[in-house]
Symmetry: C2
Subunit: 344 residues, 2 copies
Amino acid sequence: MNSSRPVTIKDIARRFRCSPSTVSRALNDHPAINEDTRKNIQEYAKEVGYQRNEVSLSLLNKKTATLGVVVPTIGNYYETAVIEGLHTVLQPLGYTLNICVTNENYLLEKEYLSKLLSNRTEGIFLSVSQETYDAGYYEHLESVIQRKTPLIFIDREYEDFETSRATVDDYHGAFAAVEHLITIGYKNVAHLKGPNGLTVSEQRFKGYRDCLKKYDIAIREELIINTNFQVESAIVPTKRLLDLDSPPDAIFGVNDQVAIGAMRVILDRGLKIPGDIGIVGFDNSPISAYTYPSLTTISRPGRKIGMEASRLFLNQINASGDFAHESIVLPSELIIRESSLRIS
Amino acid sequence: MNSSRPVTIKDIARRFRCSPSTVSRALNDHPAINEDTRKNIQEYAKEVGYQRNEVSLSLLNKKTATLGVVVPTIGNYYETAVIEGLHTVLQPLGYTLNICVTNENYLLEKEYLSKLLSNRTEGIFLSVSQETYDAGYYEHLESVIQRKTPLIFIDREYEDFETSRATVDDYHGAFAAVEHLITIGYKNVAHLKGPNGLTVSEQRFKGYRDCLKKYDIAIREELIINTNFQVESAIVPTKRLLDLDSPPDAIFGVNDQVAIGAMRVILDRGLKIPGDIGIVGFDNSPISAYTYPSLTTISRPGRKIGMEASRLFLNQINASGDFAHESIVLPSELIIRESSLRIS
DNA sequence: ATATCGAATGCAAACGTTTGAAAAAATTTT
DNA sequence: AAAATTTTTTCAAACGTTTGCATTCGATAT
């Protein structure tokens, strides 16, 4: 009962006792078609709700106007901002975005990539999943390369992989965050780190570490605890930090979620923010401006990343022979709010 | 220079001096193919990275295994949870989700729907955009119906439209929220309402209104102010509420974002939550458990909605003649936290 | 009346794959 | 060695659309 066969050009041709070619030309306003014929056919097509089968066109032209966006999650502000940026540039050019969520799962990522290639996707924007990263897998990317489908890394990447990429300067952002805490007078800065192995985690950690070094502050391993980016994952680590004999007087969270979780624990202990403990997050998610206290954070221009990534893709497909991969690194910016503003 | 033509079955056939049929059968493990032939062909195919062209298959079988998900935004927790739910059920069945974000824009919604149909999408999950709703447009849905492509409403819907739908019981959720505030002793409950016209906004508003009625509390128009669901949009309205001669002693926000924005303004004024003012949100977004104070809210099972919507879709395509549209309304649940827990 | 021209339409191939039926090749049975 | 049988392969059509080239059909010019 379902799905009555869609009207095709052939159906219309039969109806008008003419050839499919004529119908096709009529519908596309080809000049060599009689005005009356054209009008009749177009009217009838509209009446019966004809809609051209893009699948057949894709096959004919080897163009699908579809792009894949493969990300570990769309639950956070950053990813959705990136997608919005991609969308802003690419939708007007007629591209459809096929958004694939891997849930940090390597097998799913692999399957999606394979599927995208099978569907003749014209380009892929990828932020690799955690599992993929952990295991160092990258064979599944080879087929993408082999097929010369443009592959653009966004956010999470393999540093030694030969493609274009658009990322945020996590290192200097983290550095600035910690430097801000230190200049304002905090002495013992802890770090709620992201999962090991991911570039974002490691770059931010490196920024943290190098900043302490710059100010000749010894790194205390017990002040560095892992989280998984989720707000819940900050709870126990923060408690552990506060229970130390010599607890930190500031915390740099790998992202806003984690920072907000930490704030909650700190406030529950009756400590003051920023009075007793200063907090800085990362991402500048919309909520960070409205927490209590509001959260000092590092802006992370997701929308811009999406737009830059789009540009990289467009460059690549328009390249005439002399194409070289490009790496865009956008600066991140310190946004000072209440959670770190101790009047010293 | 870009995109070396992908290897086709014909290429392989030429290489083995056999027909495309043989190659096709060999690759699909057809029993009527000689074991050696099969092995040779499969090996070679793997070697040259053959990947079957799903576009041609789609054309042949009139099956694309693609579903459209058209939503106004993916920036909020709820939408991403719904998508996750859809994904959970449909991905294992081989479906690809094509996620389209309309940004509340009618024209974009229309374009996406048309594109999805042209691409022979096998089903569409739709949460209509605000513009669409405001203007009462629905002609663009006619072509979907005409083509008998299953259309499932998620979240935002037209009440008098003949399709399946899976929604959350906004009305009773809102009712429970307000009743909770009243039973705990709050007398003047304000409502930060969502945009006019949207079912979600109106249902929640109705729940608010009817609950007040039940407790014989007069509705004060000045306690009802519109927002656009964003945290920022709650700031000015909340200030206006607090500036009233007789300000409210509780606020029911149309969602958690708005409630969090309101909390911020209230705390800035030096008022206590829940002591002076009680707050309830809606959505049970992950952050709501970790704000300070934590936010009483109404859970909204987005994941379940996605899974139910999937079920509705599957029912529809498997229906044998006697198919009737179904409306699923999932209950929402009051989650009591600090922001409303005044010890009376 | 025939050649010439222009306008309108049709033919056929192509895109990559699958599949029922027919054909060819290899094997077994008489 | 011929016939019967089985195994393996090929043929051809189909999905819906576009497009260069050929064809048809009037009309105009010779």
